[in-house]
């Protein structure tokens, strides 16, 4: 008896480890959308282009250039480095190149990536790709977008894989992250609100994924829901993304009056703030995309943003003094 007790304990521990690994494996199986879930459909390329501009796909996926004016938004060869606390992501090639891009993807592959963050072959994509927002897009819009992407020029060139620190470099871990933070489904309109507000809510929270930059994130890199849209540091920690709730979008340095719907709409059209300033940095790239949207879509985004509940976000660090 004295000899078999440790042996029995060992067996129990071994079984528990196997069970834990099996549970981890089952819980982290990447979800996909089967081709059978996609009924016959004729895509609308014009709407696909609208989704492309609303989503700002080119801002991350276009081949980078030191001079942003020389970036061709139709050449989606990827390669841009995105440094963050977990390491560095390199934006993938999503041009229709059959070998290095998504030319070999089926429509179901594309929908699985956008809704579930799953790449062909059942591989988790990291949430640096904002499928947490794209999950709220309508199926027809995704199919239109996929058809539009297929019309763009193929760009050869494989992009290097992400360079992440342990344990974030274990891709299967993303499955646990999704269990915690990937929720909801396609956008459902609020019948109490206006059609314009609903269109704005859809664009902002789905394709345009505004909150992905304009919200603070927790230590696991997920948006802090109570401070959604309330601004925060950039992923590399160097700069700051503004609060875009009415608590943050103020005219002048200390003025009491928030931006009006008209202010927001015209800002999305030409990049000029109500103070006469022209925005720079990453938002200038966003303006490049939003300026391509219809006036109605910009007005809808403005209506939704102006009606956000005011929220206080994190406090920016004090400027360095020496």
């Amino acid at each position: 008896m004295g000899k078999s007790l440790p042996r029995r304990l060992g067996v129990i521990v071994g079984v528990l480890i196997v069970l834990a690994l099996a549970a981890f494996w089952i819980l982290t199986i990447p979800a996909t959308v089967p081709a059978s879930a996609l009924p016959p459909y004729t895509p609308n390329l014009a709407n696909g282009k609208t989704m492309f501009n609303a989503g700002g796909c080119a801002s991350c996926h276009a081949v980078p250039n030191a001079d942003p004016d020389k970036v061709d938004p139709t050449r989606l060869g990827g390669g841009l480095a995105l440094p963050c606390p977990f390491g560095t992501f390199y934006v993938p090639n999503i041009s229709p190149d059959p070998k290095d891009g998504i030319g070999g993807w089926s429509e179901a592959d594309f929908v699985s990536a956008m809704w579930n963050g799953t790449a062909p072959g059942g591989r988790h994509l990291y949430p640096a790709f904002p499928y947490t927002s794209f999950r709220h897009m309508q199926l027809a819009d995704l199919r239109d977008l996929f058809a539009y992407l297929k019309t763009l020029p193929p760009v050869p060139g494989a992009v290097r894989p992400p360079d992440l620190v342990f344990p974030f470099n274990i891709r299967r871990m993303v499955g646990l992250w999704k269990l915690l933070f990937l929720h909801g489904g396609p956008f459902v309109a609020d019948p109490v609100k206006s059609a314009q507000w609903n269109r704005g809510a859809y664009l902002v929270n789905g394709p345009a994924h505004c909150a992905e930059c304009h919200s603070p994130r927790n230590p696991l890199g997920a948006i802090i829901e109570s401070e959604r849209f309330a601004g925060g540091p950039t992923p590399d920690g160097k700069d700051w993304v503004p609060n875009i709730t009415p608590a943050g979008l103020r005219q002048g340095d200390n003025a009491k009056s928030p931006w009006s719907e008209g202010d927001i709409a015209s800002f999305l059209s030409d990049g000029m703030t109500p103070d006469g300033d022209f925005v720079g940095g990453a938002m200038a790239d966003v303006i490049r995309n939003t300026s391509q949207l219809s006036k109605d879509d910009r007005a809808a985004i403005a209506a939704y943003i102006a009606a956000l509940p005011p929220r206080q976000g994190p406090t920016p660090p004090p400027q360095k003094k020496d």
Binding site: D239, W240, V241, G271, D275, G276, G280, P316, P317, K320
Partner: protein, 156 residues
């Protein structure tokens, strides 16, 4: 004697360092004030375009003159070592990117273009429509295009 010389030398070095620091703060404040003035002027023009203010050609001339003035002075206001943040008393939500210093020739050439565009705009504006075209062009291709590369936001 040696002690005196070294004392004098260190006082001189401190004074020099201090005056350099003050000079850096001065250029940072000067360039911020010029940019702020540009924004204030652009707002007046934008208000005319939106119909919030009546069209006023004299004010339009004043705006484009302010742009040209700033464009001429700005290139000399980014000496080495004035990478902001060091100038804490005048640091605010915006800061120049490191590219200002690594691509100084391009950075300066953008002010030359800005001055030219402002001058051409001043000659072209006759009414609200021509103002809209001229200010829209400058906002996008001068202000916005340059801020996109050379300016970052440091706080919300």
């Amino acid at each position: 004697m040696i002690r005196t010389i070294s004392a004098v030398a260190s006082v001189a070095a401190i004074a020099l360092g201090l005056s350099v620091a003050i000079a850096q703060q001065d250029v940072i404040k000067t360039r911020k004030d010029l940019m702020k003035a540009n924004g204030d002027q652009a707002k007046i023009g934008a208000d005319m375009i939106k119909g919030a203010k009546p069209f006023d050609l004299a004010a339009v001339h004043k705006m484009f003159a302010a742009f040209q003035n700033a464009a001429q002075k700005m290139p000399d206001l980014y000496p080495a070592g004035s990478q902001n943040e060091s100038g804490s008393p005048v640091a605010d939500k915006f800061s120049p990117t490191d590219k200002v210093w690594s691509d100084m020739a391009d950075f300066k050439s953008r002010f030359a273009k800005f001055a030219n565009d402002a001058k051409a705009a001043d000659a072209s504006v006759k009414d609200v429509d021509t103002l809209k075209a001229a200010l829209g062009n400058i906002g996008k291709n001068d202000c916005g295009a340059c801020h996109r590369i050379y300016r970052v936001e440091k706080k919300g």
